[in-house]
Symmetry: C2
């Protein structure tokens, strides 16, 4: 579902939206022949059925489909191909992001001292002068930097030097993601592949601020966390519009080709990529697609599997405690064997990929990797962060022996793959979602009987799916299996 402030939806889309909502918060929905909607707390048909009202499909809801495709949330693709966000040209936004990061990291004097609880709630304001290259005009941008000392501390924890951070954003232009998903946000990736910025809503920024102390707590106890690594939160008041952006680690590399990309929630309701999505160059597949492509799951070595699921379990407990729902496991798969075959193929065609700039669509080439990584000392750190999850990497046959923080795994067909994993979209709190829920509840449903234990429901289903369907352990050799079976026998 689009998470923009306005929804332009068709009558049929309302039903899809309701289905998704029901699925997310763990209630069941049935639609009667005459359009009435039944909602119940469990699948047993004898359970309490909610009051029902006919679903009214008013003309206001029926908008032209073409508009839905062109505008998503605040992001609009114009007929001339230009992209705007809140009617601001995204190049202006990119320019503001670059100036803002330079200003807030380099310009202000962030004192080198311990983080205090107060620091999580601090907001620093400054005025920067930005240029609109498309219109050759200069204008003022009001910049708010949230929790500057806390984020500086987080960057320090991840070994990111301020100069490297500013350099990554400001020395070369950023790459706008052409396929930004269903949120209507604008995404920019730095050319060195390390950082990603995303526009977020007012409520999400507020929520992230509230989250920061608990986030710090988790970082300290669970350094292998798969939750987003937040590096900065900014608000630009630009042409009288507020644009809020968060800087995070980039989960999917563009320097290494990502052959498959999944957004997994642990649900099967409507969780299939649309036809339009599937036809894209780098589509984002969903749960049902995964089950179709990898019916036997993906295989990890036993200790890697254990560490990964352990990290996910710890992350999910944090998310649950903050009443967060609707997050996804972002899974990128680089097929090492396929990449080799493609490379041989490309060489035969006489094409030299080294001359191509890296792109954010996942079309980078292995040849670039070694060169780029060796130039940047911070990539060494990147590798240290993943520690034991990649400790068995050297045992697997990897192309060119490069170092990159992917998790080694195998497909059911025996092909070597590298996994890139992160838990994303964590800024949706149950309270926030609750409000949305009330929007449709007021149409279809006036009882208050829906379970309030939904973050737990969501977390459990998410973990169950990952444990039972997504990742498996490499089958043990026959001897070991036999020994294990013996232990199960009673004396």
């Amino acid at each position: 579902m689009a998470s923009g402030d306005y929804f332009h939806i068709e009558a049929g889309n309302i039903i899809d939206m309701l289905k998704n909502e029901c699925d997310t918060i763990g209630v069941y929905m049935d639609i009667g022949n005459t359009g009435e909607v039944y909602i119940s707390e469990n699948q047993n048909t004898n359970s309490k059925i909610a009051n029902l009202r006919p679903l009214l499909c008013s003309e206001e809801n029926t908008l032209r489909k073409i508009e839905t495709e062109r505008k998503l949330g605040h992001r609009r693709v114009h007929t001339d191909g230009g992209v705007t966000f809140k009617n601001i040209n995204t190049t202006v936004i990119m320019n503001s992001i670059q100036l803002g990061i330079q200003r807030s990291v380099e310009g202000s004097n962030v004192p080198d001292r311990d983080v205090l609880m107060d620091d999580f709630m601090t907001v620093e304001t400054a005025v920067i002068h930005a240029n609109d290259s498309t219109q050759n005009t200069a204008h003022k941008v009001m910049l708010k930097t949230y929790a500057p000392i806390a984020f500086q501390h987080f960057r320090d924890l991840f070994g990111i030097r301020s100069e490297h951070f500013v350099k990554s954003f400001c020395e070369v232009s950023l790459i706008e993601l052409p396929n930004p998903g269903a949120s209507g946000s604008v995404f920019y990736v730095t050319q060195n592949d390390e950082f990603i910025t995303k526009t977020i809503r007012h409520k999400e920024a507020e929520f992230l601020q509230k989250l920061l102390p608990g986030y710090y707590l988790n970082l300290n106890q669970n350094p292998q966390t798969l939750l987003p690594k937040f590096f900065g939160l900014y608000c630009y008041k630009c042409v009288s519009k507020n644009v809020r952006t968060v800087v995070m680690n980039n989960v999917l590399p563009s320097l290494i080709k990502v052959h498959q990309k999944y957004d997994l929630k642990g649900s099967t309701c409507n969780r299939k990529a649309s036809k339009t999505e599937s036809e894209k160059i780098s589509p984002t597949f969903k749960d049902l697609d995964y089950m179709n492509h990898h019916p036997e799951g993906i295989f990890l070595e036993e200790d890697v599997h254990r560490d990964l699921l352990n990290a996910i379990q710890r992350d999910c407990r944090v998310l649950e405690s903050f009443q967060i729902i609707d997050y996804s496991l972002l899974l990128g798969i680089h097929n090492v064997d396929q990449a080799k075959r493609e490379e041989i193929c490309t060489e035969h065609e006489g094409f030299n990929p080294k001359k191509e700039p890296p792109s954010a669509s996942g079309d980078g080439y292995l040849d670039n990797v070694e060169e780029i990584i060796s130039q940047d000392p911070d990539n060494q750190r990147k590798d240290e962060n993943v520690s034991s999850l990649t400790s068995h990497r050297e045992n697997l046959e990897l192309a060119k022996g490069y170092i990159f923080p992917g998790i080694p795994a195998r497909q059911a067909n025996g092909e070597n793959i590298l996994l890139f994993i992160g838990i994303i979209d964590i800024l949706q709190s149950y309270k926030l979602k609750k409000k949305l829920e009330h929007v449709w509840k007021s149409i279809v449903y006036d009882s208050d009987s829906v379970s309030v234990h939904n973050p737990r429901f969501y977390s459990q289903r998410f973990q169950d799916f990952i444990t039972k369907t997504v990742f498996k352990t490499t089958p043990l050799p026959p001897k070991a299996t036999k020994r294990k079976a013996l232990f199960r026998l009673k004396p």
Copy 2:
């Protein structure tokens, strides 16, 4: 000033109390010939003087001095020598503390998982059956354990195993401090010298709970912190009275003789031990006494001095951010050379100190130390915590070469000493103090012009006193001094 819930004070004591209050929050007070009180924000006599009213010494305030001495806060010493707290015999309280800690650490199943923000606010309730040995009766005690998972985590951080914690409290009886200071609290020390429990007020317990996330933040960033190490917070509902206790690290050893003990706040107003206090076996001296006993200060090696002041500065910033005032530096001095002389003296008299049990009054003997420390593996950890602050210990001539976490220093007369240091009484927030302030404001003063920047004022004065008056660096050898002097000359 007594921090009990009721104040039994004489007319003259009211003036002392006001002086102390003014001093703590950083305003100046003058008393006119006819008893009127002037309060101003700075010492400049031309500054704004508050409205004044005569200080009324009503008969209600004039109570017999003998009662003041016998009852302090909720602690009362009866004519038969028995001590009660809220009219409960303190042996019953000790018994409850022991049962409570056993029950809450061993009895409940604290899950081995990460700490979440919620955990800081959790309260676990249980019923325990306690015996009153003085009356041979059994009664029920309602036990509340605050933030059990968070405190378990803190104990883990300090390397304190649950079995060791319970054993320290429950295997042998606790030692009640005979000289508990001015707070009217009851203090118990464990016989292994490691832990101390203190009864605290409702507001203080509430404040400690609020403090926990920031406390955790500080622990992670400043492991050399001198703030109290909190290991547990409990509330016992005992004979319909609530008794709240906090468990902390014990700053002053009883196994090593503490020759001098100071409670330093950085103030000179009324900061002198009373005649009664000075005549005690182990008196607690104050700021003016320190300046009298050590007019040149105490000397530390340069790096120890730097690390210590750095730790104090970081701690003060935390206290300031939580609007905490009125804390003290507790300083215990063990004079190594004096201890040697005393030992020789004792040996000549044919007295063997090994046969005496360790006491909490600071009368332990060096001979015990080696033996007791070698029995307990946790003392190794204790030593690791103080790291570089004691790294120069081995360079100093210490009696018997034992390992104990004292900070090596020298007195102006060249004698080797060991310092035991902690920042104590941190549960007084400015808001809490503000309320007390209003009590006397309503008598003498109705303006609202008193500065609100008082936690900063308090912190700065505290640090200034420690830096300029309490600790000095060992004077540099003449050559180095000369070189330093040269740098000051302009080229």
